[in-house]
């Protein structure tokens, strides 16, 4: 290991990006594109939208790198940008009906959740039926492993609200996976305690 050079931290790289260093930007894209895509795909429900959201996320990184002061972890900051990008994209495309986003199986015969999986129920489609605020919290916590406190910072709500959203989001997701026929009628609003 002698003579080896440790890779620059994200914080170092983003500081370089703030000065127009495109190589640093390149490295940050490489490091985080998969995680941001996972977030975006679960949030938007389709790959084309997810790619758009990831693009917006990194464009924002490029344009606003100077505003990153290191008060939070870079990952938290980038997740926040990603969540906002998804939110903006969903708002822009809200005219698209739930039916377009969600394709329920032809033969929803009921049965257990596990049997549902066996019939290849689409998790992404079900997630698309979960209210956005709940979905954000569930995706960040259960799929990406982001701690409650970090999610609170990312989404700008109290930790207790995050926990509540996760719980409600999971329950709604379970309902949708069990009864996919209810997906199209699942447009509901978030009601935080």
């Amino acid at each position: 290991m002698a003579g080896g050079r440790l890779p620059d931290s994200d914080n170092v790289l983003v500081a370089r990006v703030a000065h127009g260093d495109s190589a640093a930007f390149d490295e940050l894209v490489h490091r985080h594109e998969e995680r941001m895509f996972a977030l975006a795909l679960r949030m938007t429900g389709n790959r084309a939208d997810a790619l758009d959201a990831v693009q917006e996320t990194f464009l924002t990184l490029w344009q606003r790198a100077a505003s990153f002061r290191g008060a939070s972890q870079f990952g938290t900051w980038l997740y926040r940008i990603g969540v906002n990008s998804c939110h903006d994209l969903l708002r822009r495309r809200e005219r698209r009906s739930a039916e377009e986003l969600i394709e329920a199986p032809d033969d929803p015969r009921g049965g257990s959740l596990e049997e549902g999986v066996a019939r290849r129920l689409d998790l992404d489609a079900a997630l698309a039926g979960v209210p956005e605020d709940y979905r954000q919290a569930v995706v960040l916590h259960d799929l990406l492993g982001v701690p409650y406190e970090e999610i609170a910072r990312i989404t700008g709500v109290a930790t207790g609200t995050v926990k509540s959203r996760i719980s409600r989001g999971r329950r709604r997701l379970a309902e949708l996976l069990e009864h996919p026929g209810s997906l199209a009628a699942s447009k509901e609003t978030t009601t935080d305690d």
Partner: protein, 288 residues
């Protein structure tokens, strides 16, 4: 371990599903699950989510993302250096392009006149004027402006040429256009500061000259690139197809730094749901 509260059990469901709890805590969660329908449902959802393979970018999606980011960072860095990941996409420039090719030789006269009109008034330090571009005399400029029903404000070619589909155009032909066309030669003498002032007018003119069904696409795609590239000017538009798909081709002149002349040529194609850089080189084919 004593029984868990509902809230605490709910918090632990993720770790429980991933078998990341110590034995005592896991048993406590299990007891709670046995008694709590609500948590059982939450747990089922978590298990199902964890069973899904994590989504991953395909190589094609990754390439598309990098291409798009390349467009957004066209004005990158005072050094003009390009992200390596973005430069790799440039190697994909072998796409066959079916498009119209503007009447460049004629247009240059118009553009040269335009350069004199605008560049002379505020071209900035890098504005070298147009004397060396071989554009001809002032009287010929005026004549061109009068005889071509194009966009007088910007000097862009007239709309009949815009939608011309004269057969396939190879990437090499675009290269030829950029390296030999007086249009582009003249554009090189515009300074980046001038470009920033003219972006909207050029984008608007290109859109105005496009076929009606292309106008919105041209305007949107031009602005998409320009939004992140303050030192570029859209000077070429074409409608046709790329790899069998209908596409718009837009050529940009851009500077690599503030105050510099627009000496880099970038051609983008915009199709349904995609955009990609198809050619990118500096004057004299630097970097090709």
């Amino acid at each position: 371990m004593t029984d868990l509260t509902h809230e605490r059990a709910s918090e632990l469901l993720g770790s429980y599903a991933q078998k990341a709890l110590d034995d005592a805590t896991a048993r406590a969660v299990g007891r709670h699950l046995a008694a709590c329908e609500q948590c059982r449902r939450e747990h089922s959802a978590v298990v199902l989510m964890l069973r899904q393979p994590p989504p991953s970018l395909t190589s094609e999606e990754r390439a598309r993302l990098h291409e798009r980011l390349a467009g957004a960072t066209l004005g990158a860095g005072a050094s003009g250096s390009r992200p390596a990941v973005l430069e790799r996409e440039r190697a994909r420039s072998g796409a066959r392009v079916y498009a119209w090719l503007g009447a460049a030789v004629v247009v240059v006269v118009v553009l040269v006149a335009a350069v004199q009109l605008w560049g002379g008034g505020g071209g900035g330090a890098g504005s070298a004027g147009v004397a060396s571009s071989g554009g001809g005399t002032g009287s010929s400029h005026n004549k061109a402006l009068q005889s071509i029903p194009g966009d007088r404000e910007t000097g862009l070619p007239p709309s009949p040429a815009y939608d011309r589909s004269a057969g396939d155009i190879e990437a090499g032909e675009l290269e030829h256009l950029a390296t030999t066309s007086p249009l582009f030669s003249a554009g090189r003498h515009l300074a980046s500061s001038t470009a920033a002032r003219l972006q909207d007018r050029y984008a608007h003119a290109l859109a105005r000259q496009a076929a009606p069904r292309d106008a919105r696409t041209v305007r949107r795609c031009s602005r998409k690139v320009l939004a992140a590239s303050p030192y570029a000017l859209p000077v070429y538009g074409a409608s046709g197809s790329v790899d069998g798909n209908r596409a718009i081709v837009i050529g940009f002149l851009r500077a690599t730094a503030p105050g510099q002349a627009l000496d880099r040529y970038v051609f983008w194609s915009f199709g349904a749901g995609s955009c990609s850089r198809i050619l990118d080189y500096q004057s004299g084919l630097v970097g090709r």
